[in-house]
């Protein structure tokens, strides 16, 4: 049972473009939604996170948009750069369950 559905599986974006990765969930008890970034050969690292009391959170070029009624959240990377090429995981958490990860999106930013 996949609790967090992430799409697309892979994404190719031109340098300077906008990268958009989407996640959907069913469990309305989820109350914390982080995104992790993983470079090849490394462990994942927290990129940005949001709680459902806000609809958007921005940190630099990275923005999380959250739609509570649709049970969806997305990561937008503005002005995408080759250094952003990595695998991105969305995740969700509630007090009753460990962190649940999506299957990941492999992003390639090409010049």
């Amino acid at each position: 049972q996949q609790q967090v559905k992430q799409s697309p599986q892979s994404l190719i974006v031109q340098k300077g473009g906008i990268s958009i990765i989407n996640c959907a969930y069913e469990n309305t008890a989820f109350d914390y939604f982080p995104w992790y970034q993983q470079f090849p050969g490394k462990g994942p690292a927290l990129l940005i996170a949001i709680r459902p009391d806000v609809s958007e959170k921005k940190e630099g070029r990275f923005t999380i948009s959250f739609n509570k009624s649709a049970k969806q959240f997305s990561l937008h990377i503005m002005d995408s750069q080759p250094g952003d090429s990595a695998t991105y995981f969305c995740a969700a958490y509630s007090g009753n369950t460990p962190l649940v990860f999506g299957k990941g999106t492999r992003l390639s930013v090409i010049a």
Binding site: D31, Y32, K42, G43, A49, P98
Partner: protein, 113 residues
């Protein structure tokens, strides 16, 4: 601060062999986790611990065992290795709850032949 360290980085096992994946953190975190990562499948939780002496099963615990005798160390034991256990294993830790930022180690790439 070294953060979360894992050894070994790579290992090849034969079917039926046993091994222990080591994980140590120096951040005085209470929570520690073991995940496996398979291509296109994301991160699946194997076991986690909320403190020394306390462990609990995650999503995919079969074929694995853990112990937590100290705050710093959280080893993962494979008793009878099977090809299905070929994966990249990540250890992680967080300070006080499962919603806190998880800090991951560099991973161990295990192949079972």
């Amino acid at each position: 601060n070294a953060g979360v360290t894992q050894t070994p980085k790579f290992r090849i096992l034969k079917i039926g062999q046993s091994m222990t994946l080591q994980c140590t953190q120096d951040m005085n975190h209470n929570y520690m986790y073991w995940y496996r990562q398979d291509p296109g499948m994301g991160l699946k939780l194997i076991y986690y611990s909320v403190g020394a002496g306390i462990t609990d099963k995650g999503e995919v615990p079969n074929g694995y065992n853990v112990s937590r005798s100290t705050t710093e160390d959280f080893p993962l034991r494979l008793e009878l290795a099977a090809p299905s256990q070929t994966s990249v294993y990540f250890c992680a830790s967080s300070y006080s709850s499962r919603s806190d930022t998880q800090y991951f180690g560099p991973g161990t790439r295990l192949t079972v032949l």
